[in-house]
Amino acid sequence: MKGKKLSILSLLAVSAMILSSCSSSDDASGVKIEVPDIPMHEEMGDFEGELNIVNWAGFVDPKWTDKFEADTGCKVKPRVAGTSDEMVTLMRTGQYDIVSASGDAALRLIVGGDVQPLNVDLIPNFGDEIATGMRNNIYDTVNGKPYGVPIGRGANLLQYNDDVTKGAPASWDVVWETNSPYKGKITAYDAPIYIADAAVYLMYHKPELGIKNPYALDKTQLDAAIALLKQQNTIVGEYWSDAVAQITSFVGGNTVVGTSWEILRKFAAKPNIKTTLPKEGSTGWYDSWLVSSKTKNVNCAYAWMDYTSTASVNGAIAVNFGMAPANIAYCSSSPTAQAHCDEFAAEDEEFFKKIWPWTTPIETCVDGRKDVKCTSFQEWTNAWLTVKG
């Protein structure tokens, strides 16, 4: 779902990654999803000596892998992926042990039987310090079984050029409605998952559609979201999937308002480029570690998840990538850490309550509805291509 990144810049790496995850809260509990029965790891054994990781750029770095390799003897072999789809494709080859999947990739991998349920007893660091909003989400907890260990998260915010807007827009209507004063200077995210952003807007403004979860859309609801996106297509200046392109558009003045990430605003490094969370709320991306069902290095994988769940390592990954860490114990570890956590709202559950974590849409309605079939990600993909005509 994200665009291809340019490897030269670390910020491209950022663009490449996106997490999707599903929102949790009360919805997850009531939903029964058909998942292949795969046994979980019962007890730790000897380390196998190597660990093959599929990861977003910035998630695996000698700064923390050196110590892991020294402690466990597991040689880390990372493979950077550019998109969630690429991650799914790579994991399905069976050649990798563990993946830093976003929620939209995660659920696909779980229902496809490509990853295994986790035995959290073997991950002592997977504990109370995990931010409440990152626990028991449907992307890593299906039918009550945990599948993933949270890494970090970020929100899709409304970025705006304050010189033009003179203050933060209160609503996403500036990017959706044809009477937007910024017509032609709007940017939208170029991926099927962006349909969820339309759904979030409709949840607020068209309650009669009955959307309860932007990732559980029946046919009618999807059609309404697509209609809104087609309306937006007439006022969009540019779709973005490449982080550098998005930043240059804002800095260059081609774009005045549009969806963005906090880390991209930082890279833009202009005081007049700001972000806000409008009243409708938004979507976001949550990443977690998932272990392959075909792994031969399961003990190294568990050790890795445990190691990266410690406050210091988890924090290092979050800072390196530019997101909120899953382990909020990191935040109180130093003033620098606290500043990072504050900037990315790591401890602000009120903030993240308004965020719907990206989740792969599947035919089972993740909002708990049993009387209708929801639209799958495949349908979203096909529908997305019709938006731009």
Binding site: Y239, S376, Q378
Partner: protein, 293 residues
């Protein structure tokens, strides 16, 4: 007088091949045939086969089977049809624009310019080929941004340059592929005897008449050769649309979006540019221009 005839030299391999024409032919063609059949045709064939498969909507895994749905969707989904037509028109516009620029430039270079000017222009035309493809697209993007060169240059006249849109995609693709048109056209014009220009003007033809009636017909093969590049490369491109097209969607955009999500649809769609190029070459063949290539 008697003479002794001796066997000349000792070159068993040459002598062996010399007497076996088919074996010589085989050794000549072994590598190219491996490339064409083993790599080129085979991969195209595999692509075509994939186009008949489908994707499990639940797990998004590719299922080997047989369905025509992927092809049907190309012709039934309005967004796909309009994207195909838009891409075709963009590719034609790029080709037309390249010809429009290449012919006068080629005439100047081949028939008028002093040798050092000609060499400088030849380098200038080919220079962009040395730069990375993506670099050039990004360069075009920067030139056309709101605070980029064109708005800066036009600002004193109270004008503003175009924003990212189809015309800029056409300009970007023309910029990318122009050398592939300019070089064969230049070479072809160079081969036109100079006295044909004299003869035309001697018989009363002004410059444009000479270009239209004498130069153009003689360089049609070169234009076809160049347009195979400008046309087919434009048909398959999606990065130009992505970086300079604003909300412009091309066939390549659909393929790129589907390559991981739905490989069979991507495979089916990749047949569209191939079909366009085949039709294009058939039309060119009908006009007889290929025979003189």
């Amino acid at each position: 007088m008697s003479t002794t005839i001796t066997k000349a030299g000792n070159r068993p391999l040459s002598a062996y091949l010399y007497k076996r024409a088919k074996l010589r032919l085989f050794s000549l063609l072994a590598l190219p045939m491996f490339w064409i059949v083993g790599v080129y045709i085979l991969s195209l064939f595999l692509l075509l086969v994939t186009a008949f498969w489908f994707v499990d909507p639940f797990t998004s895994k590719v299922i080997v089977g047989f369905t025509l749905d992927n092809f049907v969707s190309i012709f039934t989904v309005p967004a796909y049809i309009s994207t195909s037509i838009r891409t075709l028109l963009i590719a034609l516009a790029v080709t037309g624009l390249s010809v429009l620029f290449a012919v006068p430039l080629g005439i100047y270079m081949a028939k008028i310019a002093k040798p050092w000017v000609r060499n400088a222009l030849a380098v200038a035309i080919t220079l962009p080929l040395w730069a990375g493809y993506l670099v050039k697209i990004i360069a075009m993007r920067l030139v056309f941004t709101e605070e980029g060169f064109f708005n800066w240059a036009l600002a004193p006249f109270g004008l503003s340059g175009p924003t990212f849109s189809i015309p800029i995609v056409i300009l970007t693709l023309t910029y990318l592929w122009f050398p592939y048109m300019a070089l064969p056209v230049f070479t072809a014009i160079r081969q036109i005897p100079p006295n044909l220009f004299d003869a035309s003007s001697d018989m009363g033809a002004k410059g444009f008449t000479t270009i239209y009636r004498v130069v153009m017909p003689l360089i049609v093969p070169a234009i076809i050769a160049g347009s195979v590049f400008t046309f087919s490369l434009s048909l398959g491109d999606y990065l130009a649309a992505k970086f300079t097209g604003g909300s412009t969607q091309m066939i390549g955009s659909i393929i790129a979006a589907n390559i991981n999500l739905n490989p069979p649809v991507a495979a089916a769609f990749s047949m569209v540019p191939i079909a366009f190029v085949v039709i294009y070459l058939m039309v060119a063949r009908r006009t007889g221009s290929l025979e003189r290539m």
